[in-house]
Point group: C2
Chain length 350, copies 2
DNA sequence: TTGAAAGCGCTAACAG
DNA sequence: CTGTTAGCGCTTTCAA
């Protein structure tokens, strides 16, 4: 157990050596030539005393804190932020780093976000992770650039900072392909109305995937509403009511799980049973919804954990000079969105 | 904008004074007698150069890092952890502190949790917040005691550490009272099967509140299942099927929102309309569920944000010698669980 | 009203 | 193979 009150000098005295020797053996300095007995002695004594180096002093001396700053948007709203933090924390911990987490609001002023960064800089973090809660373009505080940084789940408007984002198109493609594979030919898309990359990319992947399957993707029905439960409900009502039964969609691809939840309600009201009368696939894999709807929702998972881990890993590489982030900054890194199969897709009725 | 590369000496030189003077004016040292012109000069120069003190060096010297460790269980599972972090972060930020966040698993070994604490201690955090994801008794790593600490959402098995927890009884009482106020007399409780304080306390408050209203609380129907959607569904099925209509409950108090979600499904299957045929009240206020069920769920909110803020606030007070935590350790501090009114309660049918 | 200098705990050049 | 020492950037005692 680490004991705050004892320092390297105490260890040196107790082991009957100099602090240099202690430092050398504990840090396993390559060029240090120290006898095995001395090594053992030092290690034993350090262990006995419960010595742990004062990371502050270490940092002051080496100009390396082993701390990463993580500024995260809207930490309290969804578990998404938690997944990013978890991924980053585990990757960081594995390499001896820790995270200073600061919350910011997606709608916070540039100055307040700048102040957050400044606080991190004053603490001499080795690098900064900047995480947003959904994939979009962000305007970054100028002081972010003064230390290695990587963006999680967004790309910078300037575009010259390393970023890791989800593969929206691949995810949408996987969702639609799952529907096609089940035999569906009339597939509708319940899209979001926000002007964010996901809206555009999921839509274009939706159409493209249908086209590639020999269907008319451009004619496929799309209804757009705000990406909440209520929006999903309304979009689904419109889509499922406007046509006569013959060309009504037999399957729905929903922009996210919340909209899918709304679609479930619309289907219930219209007497449509899921998945027998209507197959549904969502996006996001929000456990609370996806796993708990009845029937459980097949959906596409966003790689929040993976993005957090990727970002921490590469940030640390950069800090340690093992990677050049500016090279990676040219194009965002894209991480896959796997399909999570549950029970909301089946073959269409004949 | 804070500029890492310039230090107090640079400011001193640029202002034509000594570092002592700079330190004195920037820290507003009370006993320092410095002429207004010098003060202004120093401040202006510091501002111009974008000087911000190196917090590491400051910490090394003052033995105060201005950092709090937050070890949080299962950060990625629910937004609960996020709310605690947010509360703690905002309270901390307001007083110039920052948070080092470390994730731990509720099921992690004592040693691994001890290692997490040790990492925090090596970083010389001024205090530690230990947050669990639901209210229970935890066995704490022994090294936690070596620095001021407070427990969030749990009490220690030893029981001698300051803790802040939700008012389970008050929350349950508020829920049942809302049902009573709407005119219900036959109220059932869908309880959790886990042996945690919430299970016991919500149950006893349920019974007590009914008794105080002149009903027979001890005879009131209770069904217990694991506190997930499926459990809620099964408990509700049992409760709503076993009796003849005349003494079937007209209202259900659910252990949490997830169980309430299951109860919604059971009600739908049984042809019971909410709230007309059956009023429901939940617990937790998990936005994603509560606000999105149809009809929206009236529920009781857990004060995660408030507990996080309270904990940070009092921890900082202790660190700064403004409070004696050991006094507060005698009894946990209990924070209210307010009722969040939505649309799932109405008067019973005549 | 201001400044010199010690020292927080550590690492790393350099000396032996 | 091991030890001496300077110095990371800051606060604070003491002296002027």
């Amino acid at each position: 157990m680490s004991n705050k009150n004892i320092n390297i000098k105490d260890v040196a005295v107790a082991a009957g050596v100099s602090v240099t020797t202690v430092s050398h053996v504990l840090n396993e300095v390559s060029y240090a030539r120290i006898s095995p007995k001395t090594r053992d002695k030092v290690r034993t004594v350090a262990e006995e005393l419960g010595y742990g180096p004062n990371r502050l002093a270490q940092a002051l001396r080496t100009q390396r804190t082993g701390m990463l700053g993580l500024v995260s948007e809207d930490i309290a709203t969804t578990p998404h932020a938690g997944r990013i933090i978890l991924g980053a924390d585990e990757a960081a911990k594995a390499r001896g780093y820790n995270l200073i987490v600061i919350n910011t609001s997606g709608s916070a002023s540039l100055e307040s976000r700048q102040a957050d960064i400044a606080a991190l800089l004053d603490r001499r973090v080795d690098g900064i992770l900047y995480a947003t809660m959904y994939h979009r373009n962000v305007e970054l505080p100028a002081n972010l650039g003064s230390v290695p940084s990587v963006l999680v789940d967004s790309v910078a408007t300037g575009g010259n900072i390393t970023a890791v984002i989800p593969d929206e198109e691949g995810g949408a493609r996987a969702a639609v392909e799952a529907l096609l594979a089940a035999g569906h030919r009339r597939i509708g898309f319940l899209n979001n109305t926000d002007d964010v990359p996901a809206t555009r990319q999921r839509l274009s992947a939706f159409r493209a995937t249908l086209n590639e399957a020999g269907l008319d993707g451009d004619a496929a029905p799309v209804e757009s509403e705000p990406s909440e439960v209520q929006g999903g409900y309304e979009a689904a009502r419109r889509m499922l009511s406007r046509k006569d039964r013959a060309d009504m969609p037999t399957a729905l691809f929903c922009y996210n799980d919340r909209m899918a939840m709304g679609a479930y309600r619309a289907a219930a009201e219209l007497g449509l049973s899921i998945p027998d009368d209507l197959s549904i696939v969502g996006f996001d894999d929000q456990e609370l919804i996806a796993a708990n709807l009845y029937p459980a929702l097949t959906t596409v998972a966003l790689p929040h954990y993976e993005m957090g881990a990727w970002a921490a890993e590469h940030l640390i590489d950069a800090v340690e000079g093992k990677t050049d982030l500016s090279l990676m900054a040219l194009h965002p890194t894209i991480l896959g969105c796997p399909l999570v199969v549950r029970d909301s897709i089946t073959a269409p009725r004949q």
